[in-house]
């Protein structure tokens, strides 16, 4: 049985698909984190976001996060799906779901996965404003 689902896609991410992957009769709880494109950054209006990836490595790093989450927390399954390409306000760059017999582990696994993804997975976003574009985090 596959306990992880890893995906990078230019299609719309699907919350129900991520839910269905982790759902299991042995589980009492599922947590989900859904990233959404926000319309502002530090008070400045964002028009859209462009996500680029080093795809083969990003897939590997996402897989590592999923495997580590399965080791660290008593979860049953975990899905980590990420979008690439141009996204509009309200669209979904990332979905993470995790299932477990007990709920605590599902929160911990989702939070660990999104925190780690933002640190290690080679994906970059460029913010588009009315007056230009900026690579996020490039000048921290």
């Amino acid at each position: 049985m596959k306990r992880t689902s890893i995906k990078i896609t230019s299609k719309k991410l699907d919350l129900q698909e991520c839910y269905n992957f982790v759902e299991d009769d042995s589980c009492g709880g599922i947590s989900a984190f859904i990233g959404t494109v926000r319309n502002d950054t530090q008070g400045k209006e964002v028009l859209q976001l462009d996500f680029s990836t080093y795809k083969p490595m990003a897939i590997k790093e996402m897989q590592k996060i999923a495997d580590l989450a399965l080791e660290k927390f008593p979860i049953h399954k975990i899905a980590i799906h990420h979008a690439e390409g141009m996204l509009q306000i309200g669209e979904i760059p990332v979905i993470i779901t995790a299932s477990s017999k007990h709920r605590k582990a599902t929160f911990e696994a989702c939070e660990f996965a999104i925190d780690t993804l933002k640190e290690t997975v080679p994906i970059w976003k460029k913010e588009y404003f009315s007056d230009g574009e900026v690579w996020v985090n490039a000048h921290p």
């Binding site: 990233g35 996500f51 680029s52 990836t53 080093y54 083969p56 490595m57 990003a58 590997k60 990420h82 760059p93 990332v94 999104i114 993804l117 933002k118 640190e119 290690t120 997975v121 080679p122 994906i123 970059w124 976003k125 690579w135 996020v136 985090n137 490039a138 000048h139 921290p140």
Partner: protein, 80 residues
């Protein structure tokens, strides 16, 4: 030896390419490679830091490169 070099995010804008073949001397480490790269592309000074991946895995500065390695320049990531 020849090293295929990939640029991502802001670094691809700074060097104005995504993909480059770089020739450096045998037994160069990643630190040597970074020194070489900064000389060739002074604009890379414009970002505070970047990581290096060799063959799709993050690598430390003392790793010795070998012919055929694929080196990726990884500026600060911003997924999610």
């Amino acid at each position: 030896m020849k090293i295929q070099t990939l640029f991502f995010g802001i670094t691809s804008d700074l060097v104005e390419t995504n993909d480059l073949e770089i020739t450096i001397s045998e037994n160069s480490s990643i630190n040597d490679f970074k020194v070489f790269l900064k000389k060739k592309y002074p604009k890379l000074e414009n970002i505070n830091s970047y990581a290096i991946a060799v063959n799709e895995t993050y690598a430390e500065g003392n790793l010795i490169l070998k012919e055929g390695d694929v080196v990726a320049i990884i500026p600060p990531v911003s997924g999610g």
